[in-house]
């Protein structure tokens, strides 16, 4: 029982990270139809920036904030300089552009900070807390708690602010949104900034636990993508549930089945779901009208 609880804790922690990354995918996809393969790099940027700043002597709270801002800046720059100039290109081209961006961002990180692992101190110490026979790091509580706060904030943003509703409108029907006077190009910029925010936050939260390096973004990005697909791509709640489920499945699988094949679990699940439930867990199969 204690063992199960242990796996549940680690599953929720990493699942929260996947959920944030998946949300980022969904926000950009809804606004533009593009799958942003640089999503994982926002996570990496958040973690690496905070590691760098702390090592340079900046106080942790300030470092975290600056790191998140840096992540958002990268996201906005990506949209402004790489996506917007190519906005009329076919989707495949845009995907390749985001791939190029992810390679470039990784290259920049490697250039500035080398290939080694970096550490970030945990927010409130690293004495494990015992709950029900299982231990959980205080940082893990930060991950889960802050993720919940972010998701609630995001929900409030979309349902209560004018800008948030404008984003939802654009995602639903771009042309109609333009016609009612919504600045669609700004919305696209905002969606990239928001996704980057989510990714960077996930990065600063998780790096005290998992360490960070220039290429952590790759796997995190792919698994976040899988989580978003699991949730039906295009559905925010689905993305969150997908992320949590994937995290839990990974932790339980690694614990009870095989830890060597941990990275496989997410992809076996998504492959199985795609083959047997093509619309994801929450998506609907749509029919083409001819």
């Amino acid at each position: 029982m204690a063992e199960l609880l242990q796996f549940l804790f680690s599953g929720l922690t990493v699942g929260a990270t996947y959920a944030l990354v998946a949300l980022g995918f969904v926000i950009i996809y809804n606004a533009s139809g593009v799958i942003n393969f640089a999503q994982g790099e926002f996570v990496m940027a958040g973690g690496m920036a905070s590691a760098f700043l702390v090592a340079a002597g900046v106080a942790l709270p300030l470092a975290v904030v600056i790191a998140v801002v840096a992540g958002v800046a990268i996201g906005v720059a990506l949209e402004k300089f790489a996506i917007e100039p190519a906005r009329r290109a076919p989707v495949v081209t845009l995907i390749i552009i985001t791939i190029g961006a992810s390679i470039a961002i990784r290259g920049l990180a490697q250039l500035l900070l080398g290939k080694q692992f970096h550490t970030v101190p945990p927010f409130t110490g690293d004495n494990p807390i015992v709950i029900g026979g299982a231990t959980i790091l205080p940082q893990a509580l930060w991950v889960i708690g802050a993720s919940i706060a972010v998701v609630i904030g995001l929900g409030a943003f979309f349902s209560r602010t004018r800008l948030g509703k404008a984003m939802l409108a654009t995602a639903n029907n771009r042309r109609a949104a333009q016609l009612v006077g919504i600045n669609v190009r700004f919305i696209l910029l905002l969606s990239f900034g928001l996704s980057a925010l989510l990714g960077a936050v996930a990065g600063v939260l998780i790096s005290p636990i998992t360490l960070t390096s220039y290429d952590v973004g790759i796997m995190v990005g792919l698994k976040g993508f899988a989580a978003a697909m699991l949730g039906g791509l295009g559905n925010g709640i689905g993305a969150i549930v997908g992320g949590l489920m994937l995290g839990l499945a990974e932790a339980l699988g690694a614990g009870y089945l095989s830890s060597a094949y941990k990275d496989l679990i997410a992809f076996v699940i998504i492959l199985a779901v795609l083959v047997f439930m093509p619309g994801g867990l929450f998506g609907k199969a749509s029919t083409e009208r001819v």
Binding site: I96, G100, I103, G107, Y261, D263
Partner: protein, 316 residues
């Protein structure tokens, strides 16, 4: 305005040019290092031409083709090096195994479309990569394994010069094969599927069969190229099996120009040679690569060959 001719690139003229290029290139290559790059370009081109048939012509997507490439490489490597099978038999067996896997998994996967198909192929590729990387006893794990050289009828293929002609010939054969396929009822059926699945079906095209066929063909081509790469290099690591290599392959195809066989070759050439040129930049390599990639796709979204063809068409 004849797009068919432009895309096919003046079929016989282009093929002739390619033959000439391959025949005369050795005169321009100063040393073995450049032969090596040319061989790698040829091997990547084989994969890309096959992948282009799937992505550019049939309108599907695969983000996991490095999995087929790597599986071809490792199966042939393991069979020939660890079990002592004759290398040519290993090569064929590897291709057959990959073909069988592509056939079995292709059926359910190809029912998916767009991002879902992309994710499914991505997942498949990663699963193959992780398995290969984890089964260390068999594959040597992340450190890789040595591979026996390829010997045809007892004659060992070694050295860049020999491999250059073998790979050159095989690449030509693949390009020729692709052109024949495109300009045939099957080829038109595939392009019709890309154009409008509903209409293609209404014309009698068995869509599931056609998609599966081209998926398997492209997988087998990737596997063959993978096996050859393994035997040529004498060494193979899981790096060539992973997601990043899959993305690299798709990028080569898109960069060169979708639905352009010559584009696939050009894309393979550029993205194989570019990192070699960029090693000059050392630490800046990835950064420059990424920026060059972005810039090319922003300013030439249709890919290189179609964009150049259009520019040259306008000048006439």
């Amino acid at each position: 305005m004849d797009r068919a001719r432009t895309l096919l690139g003046h079929r016989h003229g282009g093929l002739g040019f390619l033959v000439l290029l391959i025949a005369l290139l050795p005169l321009a290559l100063p040393n073995r290092y450049f032969y090596d790059i040319a061989i790698l370009i040829g091997l990547n081109a084989i994969v890309c031409v096959g992948l282009n048939l799937l992505i550019g012509f049939a309108g599907q997507i695969s983000l996991g083709h490095a999995g087929f490439f790597g599986l071809g490489a490792y199966v042939s490597a393991v069979l020939s090096t660890k079990y002592g099978w004759p290398s040519t038999v290993s090569l064929v067996a590897a291709a057959a195994l990959v073909g069988a896997i592509a056939f079995a998994l292709g059926r359910p996967i190809l029912r998916l479309k767009g991002h879902y198909l992309a994710m499914a192929t991505l997942g498949l590729g990663i699963i193959i990569a992780v398995v290969i990387s984890t089964e260390e006893r068999l594959t040597g794990g992340p450190d890789g394994m040595t591979v026996a050289p390829l010997s045809v009828f007892g004659f060992a293929l070694q050295g860049e010069a020999m491999w250059y002609w073998v790979v050159g010939g095989l690449m030509l054969a693949t390009v020729w094969l692709a052109f024949n396929l495109i300009d045939s009822p099957l080829g038109r059926a595939l392009r019709a599927i890309h154009g409008s699945e509903v209409a293609a079906e209404a014309m009698g095209v068995d869509i599931a069969r056609a998609k599966l066929l081209i998926f398997v063909v492209s997988a087998i081509l990737a596997a063959l190229a993978g096996s050859l790469t393994a035997h040529y290099g004498g060494f193979i690591t899981p790096g060539k099996v992973g997601f990043l290599h899959s993305i690299e392959l798709v990028t080569m195809v898109v960069l060169g120009g979708l639905a352009s066989t010559y584009g696939a070759v050009v894309g393979a050439a550029i993205l194989t040679a570019l990192p070699q040129l960029l090693t000059v930049f050392k630490d800046y390599e990835s950064l420059v690569f990424g920026v060059v990639l972005m810039a090319t796709m922003i300013f030439m979204p249709a890919g290189l060959v179609p964009t150049l063809a259009r520019i040259m068409g306008r000048r006439r």
